[in-house]
Symmetry: C2
Subunit: 229 residues, 2 copies
DNA sequence: GGTCTAATGTGTATTAAGTACATATTTTCA
DNA sequence: TGAAAATATGTACTTAATACACATTAGACC
């Protein structure tokens, strides 16, 4: 029987509430970006003394009257100003001792945004884009959360047109391939990559060409209007 | 900034704790079984008046000093007596109004057990195996949780040797195929199915044959010792 | 304007995986 | 001994994944 039922008395009910309704819930967002041919994550300097100097993911406590998905959208919007962004729940992390301030269970989400498209106040709050490679140690269990989300992302990149969210509206196929390569951590064959993307109907040619490149310019593509995220 | 840092005073810290550390956390386990050629789920009659007569998943509140994974193993063991069972977290469900007694966020897990292998007290507590098909309406958001877990299971049955957990130690290939068919909800070609399973090295022949069948008996197989769940 | 550079754009042959499909064999039962 | 019912098995076809090479184009420089 769950402790939430069959109370013997009102006093018993109150006692149960006091002993169980004292966990805090947070959401943590792994916000991926792409710059300098590397996958980046938006992180913030931890302001807990236990993790002084370490980077942490962007997160916040879930408010008492807030759905968890709403909380994740709120965190994202507060930090990046962006609405209607792809956000996906990955899983919960619930080790007792993961947060020094008490029992805080967190729900991890990941999101993908175009760094150049939003103007966040990077001077503010030590908020910063960091290449994943450089984030060896992070506050809390955030490195584990990041790994789990990255793994989920890797599983999905050929299933759903997710990575376009990391690029500007118009991009060359080479840019897309480099992005896939840095997400997957492996090099891909150009012809096979183009074939694989081509059959998915995720792309539309713009008719334009790259500019200011020191070589033959590639065609610019944009995401196919109907392609669902 | 998260509300857990930069307190202006001890009083402020206490206030924050009081307003945020009041969510309860539960785990809900979708425990799959297999009987009468149908996929079954272990459910219990809801004892909340709001859901009188409806079935609910097996769950419990997470204790203050308990990891969430530990909680799910505890629920499973309390209900089935089984230890060391495959259990996988799927995701959190956190709608504000999902539980009538207060804000209870739940983490969903799924598990697979061999019904014939455990002797649970089915008379006890209206605990019962029900075919999934028959569970049209369930208490809370448990039908949604069940659907989500079933979908995850379907994605994994050819990736990991999960379904063997639902069968007795020795089984014929036909039993395995019927199980796959009822999980996936589609019929499979026998020759192609055997080929697909054969390449995975999940099975070992026992050298024995089926008994007491009204036709040519099939060979009995058992799970390959090294095959990871 | 000719040449160099660097990357674009493209096709085919091979292998692996998935799908469709039919017949001989073995055991039990009557 | 024959009928019933399910086992065991192989091949042709299609689709997806992989490996791999060469002609083309725009810019930069002289």
């Amino acid at each position: 029987m769950t402790p939430l039922t069959n109370f013997k008395s009102a006093a018993a009910e109150k006692r149960i509430h006091q002993s169980y309704f004292k966990i805090a819930l947070s959401v943590d967002c792994v916000i991926f970006g792409y710059a300098e041919k590397e996958l980046q994550v938006l992180v913030i300097k931890s302001d807990l003394k236990e993790f002084a100097g370490q980077w942490s993911l962007l997160g916040d406590l879930v408010r008492p009257e807030e759905n968890i998905d709403e909380a994740s959208y709120r965190v994202l919007e507060e930090r990046t100003g962006l609405k209607n962004v792809y956000l996906e729940q990955v899983q919960a992390f619930g080790e007792c001792k993961r947060h020094p301030s008490g029992r805080v269970v967190t729900i991890a989400y990941y999101s993908l945004i175009d760094i150049s498209n939003h103007k966040l106040q990077l001077n503010d709050n030590d908020l910063s884009w960091r290449p994943i490679r450089s984030l060896r140690k992070m506050a809390f269990d955030h490195r584990q959360i990041l790994d789990t989300c990255l793994q989920r992302l890797r599983e999905q990149v050929f299933e759903k047109p997710l990575l376009f969210n990391l690029l500007p509206a118009k991009f060359a196929l080479r840019n897309l391939q480099e992005l896939y390569e840095s997400v997957l951590g492996e090099v891909l064959d150009r012809r096979n990559f183009r074939k694989k993307i081509a059959v998915k109907d995720w792309l539309r040619e713009t008719g334009e060409l790259e500019r200011s490149v020191l070589h033959r310019p590639g065609r610019l593509y944009t995401r196919q209007a109907g392609s669902k995220r």
